[in-house]
């Protein structure tokens, strides 16, 4: 029996009664009640009609979200972003581009000034060395604050899923180790030019904007890492971000250069 049985009208028993699932004393009690209660008699009739109506209701076909673009499915997207995305997906992209373009001048200048810094100082992980290609340590996510970011690295790398995972793991380790989080060391691997970060003539704002649009990141997400490379033969951008939700992680995103569509995403918890 239910602890919520209403002495006046045993609604919790009546649903079982409608379904023919009441036996013995419970059934007798309900029938005794029904004999004198007009309200429940009426409800019984309408409840049967309602149950019958529901039995005839068909399933509808879902929109097939899994078979469409999945750019909306990123851990740092917010629920509020979805409505904009569905109605006019470019709005966030445009905002992201504007926000990053505002910082582009500063970033490019910083890149020009600091690109020649020797990498050997990196080992000391002092703030000056570690932050070489970025302007200043700001807190990502503060609207209106100076948005900084790294220059775009281009070492002609060719990535696969597993080397992206390796890179993500390595960068995440560096993000965890660096304080405050600033620029990350250049990627490991084949053509490591000792002592130098090769920057690309590509505009960091363009690269970051493509990443933000393709990966659905918020406009206030500051990239920690930007690289132009190829992914499985496709010209791509690789971007590293720190997520801003309650489970911090490092996100390494690969987008195609042609249409900024997401090609791969690696996530490393911090």
């Amino acid at each position: 029996m239910s602890e919520r049985a209403d002495d006046r009208h045993p609604d919790d028993l009546l649903s079982d009664y409608v379904d023919g699932r009441l036996d013995g004393e419970a059934r007798a009690a309900v029938e005794r009640h029904l004999a004198t209660c007009v309200r429940c008699q009426d409800d019984l009739v309408t409840a049967r009609a309602g149950a019958q109506a529901l039995a005839s209701l068909p399933e509808v076909d879902p929109p097939g979200l899994a078979d469409g673009p999945l750019d909306w499915l990123t851990p740092s997207a917010t629920v509020a972003d979805l409505a904009t995305r569905r109605v006019g997906g470019r709005t966030r992209w445009q905002r992201a581009t504007v926000a990053l373009a505002a910082a582009a001048v500063v970033v490019v200048l910083a890149g020009v000034v600091t690109v020649s810094l020797s990498r050997s100082e990196k080992q000391a992980s002092t703030s000056a060395g570690a932050r070489a290609p970025s302007v200043s340590a700001t807190q990502p996510g503060l609207g209106g604050a100076l948005v900084s970011g790294p220059a775009v690295v281009d070492q002609g790398r060719s990535y696969t899923a597993s080397t992206i995972e390796d890179l993500a793991h390595r960068l995440a380790t560096d993000v965890e180790a660096s304080a405050p989080p600033g620029v990350l060391p250049s990627p490991p691997g084949q053509s490591q030019a000792p002592g130098k970060i090769q920057t690309s003539p590509l505009d960091p704002a363009t690269v970051a904007g493509c990443l933000a649009g393709g990966a659905g990141l918020a406009a206030t997400d500051t990239p920690l890492y930007l690289e132009a490379a190829t992914y499985q033969g496709v010209p791509a951008y690789v971007g590293g971000f720190r997520t801003s939700d309650s489970h911090p992680a490092f996100l390494l995103v690969v987008v195609g250069r042609a249409d900024c569509s997401i090609l791969y995403e690696a996530r490393q918890p911090l």
Partner: protein, 203 residues
């Protein structure tokens, strides 16, 4: 011959960053989640948004799903929260468009189409705490026990809402007021509405 992966396997892969595994999870569960949202919210647009929000919240919180409950149950709770959010955001004068009438399985029977549309419309007039029980139990064959667990209410409450919900629907179909009494007595437990991103997970 490869066996299909079960939900737990897909969840583990998705937790490890395999987005295609999460896409497979979506494919498996989207029909139920979408139908839950559609019958709860009444319009395809709202159902689409709520379904998307549910999967996004699921993806974001996948790291904290430990498998103590079935994935589908956990996802259902997230989806219900997304539906409640949508209902809270809704303006009081939302009207249902004609185009939201569902297409029945038997497409050439105009009567069936009309009937299904009528039932769908009437269902939107049923109070929400009854409607959710009708959808879960009557339309999706979720057991009373599992509905109770999902909504964090006693089984007796579920049965009571089931009866009242059916009766309200029956009245709405005949053009009467679905709300003989609008809400349950004050002593009743209100439907559980945990924050959208942190549904209580059964342990």
């Amino acid at each position: 011959m490869t066996e299909p992966l079960d939900d737990a396997d897909l969840v583990r892969r998705a937790q490890g960053g395999d987005r295609s595994a999460f896409a497979d999870l979506m494919r498996r569960h989207e029909r139920r989640i979408y139908n839950l949202a559609y019958r709860m919210l009444g319009t395809r647009d709202d159902a689409h948004d709520a379904t998307q929000e549910a999967f996004l919240a699921c993806y974001r919180n996948l790291g904290r799903f430990r498998g103590d409950s079935a994935f589908g149950t956990w996802l259902h709770r997230i989806a219900l929260n997304a539906c409640y959010d949508s209902l809270r955001r809704r303006r009081p004068t939302t009207s249902l468009d004609q185009e939201d009438a569902p297409e029945p399985a038997v497409a050439d029977h105009a009567d069936a189409a009309t009937a299904a549309a009528d039932v769908h419309r009437a269902l939107q007039e049923v109070p929400e705490e009854f409607r959710v029980v009708l959808i879960l139990h009557e339309l999706q064959d979720v057991s009373v026990e599992e509905v109770a667990a999902m909504l964090d209410v006693p089984i007796g409450t579920v049965k009571s809402r089931l009866f009242r919900g059916r009766a309200a629907l029956g009245r709405a179909l005949t053009g009467g007021s679905p709300a003989r009494e609008e809400r349950e007595p004050a002593s009743a437990t209100p439907p559980s509405k945990p924050p959208a991103d942190h549904p209580p997970i059964q342990r």
